[in-house]
């Protein structure tokens, strides 16, 4: 935290990076950096790394500036900081393992459930329909109880985040509206026109597309699943498109993370989350591809197990990042509208 504050104080006397993303304008509105300010800035940072490559003060310069890394570190801390209930920090720290165990557990239970109701032949012989597999009421209850649970916990955590970063400011609709546009437009993935220097120094918009692909794919699938059980080809096709988007976007993000300069990487819980997204996309594609064969059920159950695990861990994993980032985008737009702290 002290290191982040030191580096940002240096940045604030330079300001050359202004225009890359919202972090810099937000920084310029401050003179010194409280705990809440640092958390806010770290979640405004989308890790595009343009500022690192544009900085004449990166190592070996004695000022040792590395903003993507130091803000990344603070961001990881911020995920832990507002976890509720606190004991779940342990889950968060080992999110890869948590995903694996939880998915496996749910998968086994669901396989067992199908086996009990429909016998072993359901997996290779008798082709069940969605409705036969999970009658709508069952699916509905499972789905919505998960949503409510995630929403409530996110709300609690989002509120304590807001309390820390906002300095007692209220939100207004104008700021929220603009922040929503920022999210959809991926404003901070653009580098002010230069693209992201991620994974390498050459500016590119690939990361924007990758993230947008996962995000919109997820939203598409989330909306489509409201139409469960899928009655016609159109719904299934849309669902497939969503899955492909998630699969491709998450795959790209994983590849980029693999190629990115490790000097700039924070120890992060995001790779496990991206990998989960990747698997979710993949299983979605496979189950739809097999939909005319009895085996589709296995992949459908796998897909649902992955999604259930994602949602159950949502308040204790990288899945939290939309909450904090959205809150910070709102705060940023609020400050911009009011041009003061």
């Amino acid at each position: 935290m002290e290191e982040a504050s030191r580096q940002l104080t240096v940045c604030n006397s330079c300001r050359y990076c202004e225009g890359f993303c919202d972090v810099w304008d937000a920084m310029e509105r401050r003179k010194d950096f409280s705990y809440g300010d640092l958390i806010h800035l770290s979640n405004l940072c989308h890790d595009c790394r343009d500022c690192y490559y544009a900085c004449p003060f990166i190592p070996p310069h004695e000022l040792m500036i590395n903003i993507p890394k130091v803000l990344g570190d603070v961001r990881e801390l911020s995920y832990e900081k507002f976890v509720f209930p606190k004991v779940m920090i342990r889950v968060m720290r080992r999110s890869g393992l948590a995903y694996f165990l939880l998915t496996t557990l749910i998968f086994i239970i669901s396989l067992y459930y199908v086996f009990l109701l429909h016998g072993l032949s359901a997996f290779y012989e008798t082709s069940l329909t969605m409705e036969e597999l999970f009658p709508y009421p069952v699916f509905f209850v499972a789905e919505y109880s998960l949503y409510i649970y995630v929403f409530l916990l996110w709300l609690i955590q989002g509120r304590s985040y807001w309390k820390e970063v906002s300095n007692g400011r209220k939100v207004n609709m104008k700021a929220i509206g603009r922040a929503i546009l920022d999210v959809f437009a991926h404003k901070d993935f653009r580098g002010g026109g230069a693209g992201c220097n991620y994974p390498s120094e050459n500016g590119s918009f690939l990361r924007l597309f990758a993230h947008a692909s996962v995000m919109f794919g997820f939203i598409i699938d989330w909306v489509t699943i409201l139409f469960y059980p899928f009655a016609n080809v159109a719904v299934i096709s849309i669902y497939l498109i969503g899955s492909v988007l998630i699969f491709a976007g998450a795959g790209l993000l994983l590849l980029m993370r693999f190629k990115a300069d490790s000097k700039l990487n924070s120890k992060s819980i995001s790779s496990a989350f991206t990998a989960m997204m990747f698997c979710t996309g993949a299983s979605g594609i496979i189950f739809i591809a097999l939909i005319t064969r009895p085996e589709w059920i296995i992949f459908f159950l796998l897909r649902d197990s992955l999604i259930a695990a994602l949602f159950i861990t949502a308040p204790f994993s990288k899945f939290l990042h939309p909450v904090y980032r959205f809150a910070s985008l709102i705060l940023n737009r609020y400050e911009e509208i009011n041009q003061r702290l």
């Binding site: 604030n12 330079c14 050359y16 003179k31 003060f57 310069h61």
Partner: protein, 469 residues
């Protein structure tokens, strides 16, 4: 591609059409122009890759004559630019070369945009940038990164950590260059040579010869790789020198900053807000003489004339938000005496100075954006504007030293960028950028004009070195 031929003492590189010495804006502009004209081009940057880009990496905007455009807030006629140049340069300017730079400066933004540079829009929200200068996204390091990528794509061969040691002549013609890299000497033959190696601000030995022992206390804001060696070698071979040896850009910087490469971040903008004492506890110059952008460039010289080249700017708590934040925390104390003790200033003398100043202040309406009516009477030196009493604790101070950014003395060139000799001229050596900026002005400072000179002469040198007129 080039071929390495190992020999006992030196490695020989295959021949090039053009060798560019340097690695900042002027060198890159030259190399790009040469490569676009089909020349086999080698660029020798003395810094390692991570520190490439000369002083360009400490820039962020470029000045050019223009009609109304997207990057600035209004028109900037050539005539006005010429007047601005004259007004900052007490040493006078070379009007012929200056006019050439100004004429060509109009084409700069489109050249830069074509080569991948992104400019900021002049109006962002409620902020307007500048009328005279265009700001590029990410500052100078982003600029050189863009140019290096562009040069690589065009097939320019780039060697980092390559320090030019010698130019080998046959008559007026430079036949080859030898440089050291990773402990090995290498010789390369070339049809043309363009020297764009910057000033000599990081050559402490040369500074000491010029400034005496005061130079020991200078902080070098510019890159530590601007040692002026190529310049020096050409002078040894008869090149004509232009510009005042002491000419340069020297501002007041935080005394705690790094010895080299402080760039923008060590600049202290509190001077016109507060008062400045030297080591003896006395004021020595009118801190509020004129608007800060017009005056900050003189404070390096002013401090260089003070004992131990050290000074302190002192403000009180009501002035805390009236200047750009500094990179290092201010000295701070709730009692003025305590602050002066921290600074190791002679307390009684300094308190006397502050009391005298406070008595002299005529209360007015403070406005740092214009020449306001807050001034002093009856003290010497006066503070003509923005004078307010230092009386509201806590008190703050920043230590100041002269911070040398770049030097003007360099190679005399003609309008084609050709390097002149004491008798005649070199046949195939051109110069661009800081190393020849003394041809335009020899002292004073005009923000963003160094890049203008570098870009214009980079293109000129590139064209002439590839015989495209």
């Amino acid at each position: 591609m080039y071929i390495w031929l190992e020999s006992e003492a030196t490695i020989k590189l295959s021949d090039y059409d053009v060798v560019v010495v340097g690695g900042g804006n002027a060198a890159l502009t030259t190399a790009i122009t040469c490569a676009e004209n089909g020349a086999r081009t080698l660029l020798l940057e003395s810094a390692p890759a991570l520190e490439r880009g000369g002083n360009t990496k400490y820039t962020r905007d470029i000045r050019y004559a223009h009609h109304e455009d997207k990057f600035t807030s209004g028109e900037y006629p050539k005539k006005e630019l010429l007047e601005d140049l004259k007004s900052v340069s007490p040493g006078g300017i070379d009007e012929k070369i200056a006019s050439l730079v100004i004429d060509k400066s109009e084409e700069i933004p489109s050249w830069m945009s074509t080569h991948g540079v992104i400019f900021k829009r002049a109006i962002r929200g409620t902020l307007s940038l500048s009328r005279t200068n265009a700001f590029f996204l990410g500052g100078g390091k982003a600029l050189v990164n863009t140019y290096y990528r562009c040069a690589e794509k065009l097939g320019v061969n780039i060697l980092y950590g390559a320090e030019v040691e010698r130019f080998l002549f046959r008559g007026n013609r430079c036949e080859s260059i030898s440089f050291s890299r990773e402990g090995k000497m290498t010789e390369v033959r070339s049809q043309y040579v363009v020297v764009a190696s910057g000033g000599f601000e990081a050559n402490l030995k040369m500074l000491k010869e010029i400034w005496g022992s005061a130079a020991d206390n200078f902080i070098i804001r510019g890159t530590k790789y601007n040692t002026g060696i190529p310049f020096h070698r050409l002078v040894e071979n008869g090149a004509k020198v232009t510009g005042d040896p002491k000419g340069g850009h020297m501002v007041a910087v935080d005394a705690r900053g790094p010895k080299f490469d402080g760039g923008i971040i060590t600049r202290i903008d509190a001077v016109p807000i507060g008062i400045v004492l030297n080591k003896t506890g006395r004021r020595f110059y009118d801190e509020g003489e004129d608007l800060w952008p017009k005056r900050y460039a003189i404070w390096g010289h002013l401090i260089s004339e003070q004992p131990d080249q050290l000074a302190y700017v002192i403000i009180d708590s009501k002035m805390r938000d009236d200047f750009l934040p500094a990179a290092y925390p201010a000295f701070e104390a709730s009692d003025i005496r305590e602050l002066l003790l921290q600074l190791e200033l002679p307390v009684d003398e300094a308190i006397n100075t502050i009391n005298q100043f406070n008595k002299g202040v005529v209360v007015g309406r403070f406005d740092r954006t214009k020449l306001d009516d807050c001034h002093t009477i009856g003290i010497e030196p006066p503070k003509s504007h923005w004078a307010r009493r230092i009386d509201k604790p806590p008190y703050y101070a920043f230590p100041l030293r002269p911070g040398l950014t770049f030097t003007y003395m360099g190679l005399k060139v003609d309008e084609e960028g050709r390097v002149q000799r004491e008798d005649g001229e070199f046949e195939n050596i051109f110069a661009a950028g800081e190393v020849m900026s003394g041809n335009v002005l020899s002292s004073g400072y005009l923000a963003g004009f160094g890049l203008t000179i570098g870009t214009v002469f980079g293109i000129i040198a590139g064209k002439n070195a590839t015989s495209v007129k």
